[in-house]
Amino acid sequence: MRRLFKIIALLALLPAVAAGQGKVNHIIPAVVYGDRPMKEIGVQQTKLDSIQLKENISLSMADVLTFNSAIFVKNYGRATLSTVAFRGTSPSHTQVSWNGMKINNPMLGMTDFSMIPSYFIDDASLLHGTSSVNETGGGLGGAVKLSTRPAQNDGFGLQYIQGVGSFKTFDEFLRLTYGNEHWQTSTRAVLSTSPNEFEYRNHDKKVNVYDEDMNIIEQYYPIEKNKSGAYKDFHLLQEVYYNTGKGDRFGLNAWYINSNRELPMLTVDHGEATDFDNRQREQTFRGVLSWDHLDNGWKVGAKGGYIYTWMAYDYKRDVGNGNMAHMTQSRSEINTIYGQGDGEYYIGKEWLFTASLSAHQHFVESRDKNIIRQDGNKAVVGYEMARIELSGSISAKWRPTDRFGLSAVIREELFGNTLTPIIPALFVDGVISKKGNVVAKASISRNYRFPTLNDLYFLPGGNPDLKSESGWTYDAGISFAVGEEGKYSLSGSANWFDSYIKDWIIWLPTTKGFFSPDNIKDVHAYGVELTGDLSVALSKEWNLVLNGTFSWTPSINVGEPRTPADQSVGKQLPYVPELSSSVTGTLSWRDWTFLYKWCHYSERFTMSSNDITLTGKLPSYFMSNITLEKGFSFKWADISVKAVVNNLFDEEYLSVLSRPMPGINFEVFLGITPKF
């Protein structure tokens, strides 16, 4: 029984599940006896299960993280840029990987989570703070690991879901699978379209009514439509897995994205929507080939991958007769070649050694503006750059007894020809009480994040003299898990963290009319993260699951005053909520399921001085969504019908200044899984 700990897992209590909507299963609360993996000694992570990821096909990973994690999702509107940030850091401090390959945009540093359909992700883990060093460097806030896995089907499988929602929103999802003892294949496709013209009361401007002499005789807040916000996103994911049955596993994952999104007009825009076209298009291909070999006591793996991204931003206006002329015509292309090798080696049951080396070679071309030079010839403002990013790590993990584990990680990174200092991380955990499965964890790490390619080379404004951001992070936490087989399970955790980030890079305007980055701030981010999960079998047919998160994340500017008048020192960073929380509750009875989701963000400052002004106010808000689902099981197919109400209380709220958000809206989904 060494290394065996009683942990309570909230095994899917709800209908629909591993396979997503369309198939209904009921699983009662279960007490699971399992290993505490040595790879996870001292690691603070949040794992999202398939219920959370496959809740409905219209959700992006940004939506899923909003309601199921303690990290902050900054949402610029429906089907627009959504970034995530851990613990009061910035989106570029969140490293994101898909099947091991880093997918942060090398030009911008961040990842748009609105572009990741949650139905394409089978496993998602959030590695908080220090814990990210196990996977990658540069995650000053943390890392998000996204991956797919074999469906483990036998024979052919098909799943189709159609969603229809408010604002003429249509979502379609199709999955074809085939599997046998050795082979597993899967093809998934998602198409989401909407003119996205939701109505909202615009509090930021008024409509004037004039008399004949052009005197204003009346003003009112208009009920406007979200203008210029249409989108059409298509995703295709192909997976092929081969398991030799003799310890070797091969995998191929290929994901294609074709997105065409208008950028919604600000609430303070007085232009005519029909006279302007503000649009972003993207085509991205991501492919990963993997091989893993498992043997008695050791494991090796290799991965190779490629990313191609083409992005276009066009801002046009009608110059008469419907002739649209470009005001801005920006293009960027990114080619990334990826390779990685990993190894694990156990010595007995007490020691585990790991080593990893990854390489991402980026080739980037940015064409931001077309101009006419002084000599009359045309020219393009932009840059071309290539950069290799190497990241290597070794670790030793030691668990001398059931109750105690220690792990040390050393990581080193090379960006271009610049080497980081050693990135060290130390983790420890221990079982305080077997009764209640009370486990304490602690960790410490140093980390660095290199400037992005835009930070260094963007024209105009790139600053090649930027230093890397660096930080120290300390984590400590405690967790428990109790339960009774078939009746209930209850688990929770409380984590404290403390991190110092030096040389934080921020883009600021210049007197020359463009923005330029600089190492401006030193930041002290600290706080507490709480999670709690409860599942109860209320009766034979009634089941209840509750999941909750809470975060308190002061993120304080501790740098020097920028000028004598600077009032930002000692203040919370703008747009970082100090408090955030979420609760999801699921009640199921027979083939019926009711889901209630709730989240809260406290007021966010829009100024570094934390002044709250009339024009810079982002009040706290609560958001509630509900879902009711009914499953039908026939001989020939499983069918499910789902109704969703988003923004149940028709809340008027803002996530970012001047970006309208939809009020109450509805979606209906019909899913079918034929039985072959």
Partner: protein
């Protein structure tokens, strides 16, 4: 188990109960500053794409500042990037660049009296008469002709050798029937427009990216270039201050700065016989001077000067510090004797001033 269930239901109900929020609508505040006479408007750009531009008002006599006056008077936002403001016959015209609008406000009550909408990306407005004005644009190769009385766009002036994408027309000054315009972003020229035909009749090449334009008491135009930036395909050079004769439209003098300097914000005093500009420090020069002074009017003291103006009545110099560009900026008021008379916080990125 039943008790547990009841408690859970109760908690859920509690959650539902606290979920409703009401939006706070703004209240319109009454101002009447008609008695105070002199006053200074400050346009605070706010952050691009965040719609948090504001308008501040400062009374030099009482030394009292009122911030967010547009919002407070009208219970709505000014918009995204307040670029400039001028006053004509008791009406203030506030140009809000990325909101595609120019607001007309009563300069005593700050209440809106009208607006010109659907502009491309307005920068400055210049009046030719009560019924005709020009509005310059960035990202458009046209200057818009408007009827301010009807708040209507009535026509356009096409600018040659300029595409929409690299379009940039900026500040305007008038000499007789001609209006002069500096072309800034990826441009290097001053345009001369005949206001009777609304045509560009001449242009004068200066250095790279002339940022501002004023005309002194001797009918000389002054502009300062920023010289572009390193790596720009348009070129990068040492910036210069130019003195141009309005009548002959020729360069009379060129004052060269060091390579890498970033001069900006050429301004005049009330009698228009002295010019001021920013170049880390604040500089002052007589309009008849042959060379730039050796010492600045106000040396750099750690403040990031972003905006500049001179009181046309007292000659007091006002400079704006944008600090970190995401907090309320600060305005410093200095006497002609370089004595700090007052300092006050305004809005985010105070970029331009307008005297009542």
């Amino acid at each position: 188990m039943h008790k547990l269930f009841i408690r859970l239901v109760f908690c859920t109900q509690l959650l539902l109960a606290v979920s409703c929020m009401k939006w706070e609508y703004g209240l319109e505040e009454d101002f009447d500053l008609s008695a105070s006479g002199e006053g200074l408007f400050i346009t605070n750009e706010g952050n691009f794409q965040y719609g948090n531009a504001t308008l501040s008002y400062y009374d030099p006599k009482t030394r009292k500042v009122e911030n967010e006056i547009f919002y407070r008077a009208n219970a709505m936002k000014l918009g995204d990037v307040a670029q400039s403001m001028i006053i004509r016959d008791g009406v203030g015209w506030v140009v809000v660049n990325n909101s595609h609008v120019v607001f007309a406000i009563d300069i005593n009550t700050f209440k809106e009296v009208g607006r010109i909408t659907n502009l491309t990306s307005p920068r400055y407005i210049h009046f030719l008469s009560d019924e005709k004005a020009y509005i310059t644009q960035i990202w458009d190769n046209r200057i818009f002709i408007v009827n301010p009385k009807r708040y209507e766009i009535t026509g356009y002036i096409d600018i040659h050798n300029m595409t929409m994408e690299s379009g940039s027309t900026e500040q305007m000054v008038q000499y007789g029937k001609y209006v002069f315009v500096n072309c800034w972003s990826y441009q290097n020229r001053i345009l001369k427009i005949d206001t009777e035909t609304d045509q560009v009749v001449d242009e004068l090449v200066v250095g790279i990216q002339p940022t501002s334009l004023v005309m002194d008491c001797n009918d000389k135009l002054w502009t300062v270039t920023d010289g572009g930036y390193e790596g720009s395909p348009y070129g990068h050079e040492a910036p210069s201050l130019y003195k141009i004769d309005a009548a002959t439209f020729t360069i009379e003098k060129q004052f060269k700065f060091d390579f890498g300097d970033w001069p900006s914000e050429v301004q005049l005093n009330g009698t228009k016989d002295k010019i001021y500009w920013l170049n880390d420090d604040v500089w002052e020069m007589d309009v008849t001077a042959d060379r730039v002074p050796v010492r600045p009017f106000l040396p750099y003291n750690g403040t990031l000067y972003y905006g500049l103006t001179v009181d046309p009545h007292t000659g007091d110099v006002y400079i704006a510090d944008a600090i970190d560009y995401v907090q309320q900026g600060k305005v410093y008021r200095y006497s002609q004797n370089r004595e700090l008379l007052d300092e006050f916080y305004v809005g985010i990125i105070p970029g331009a001033f307008c005297w009542k």
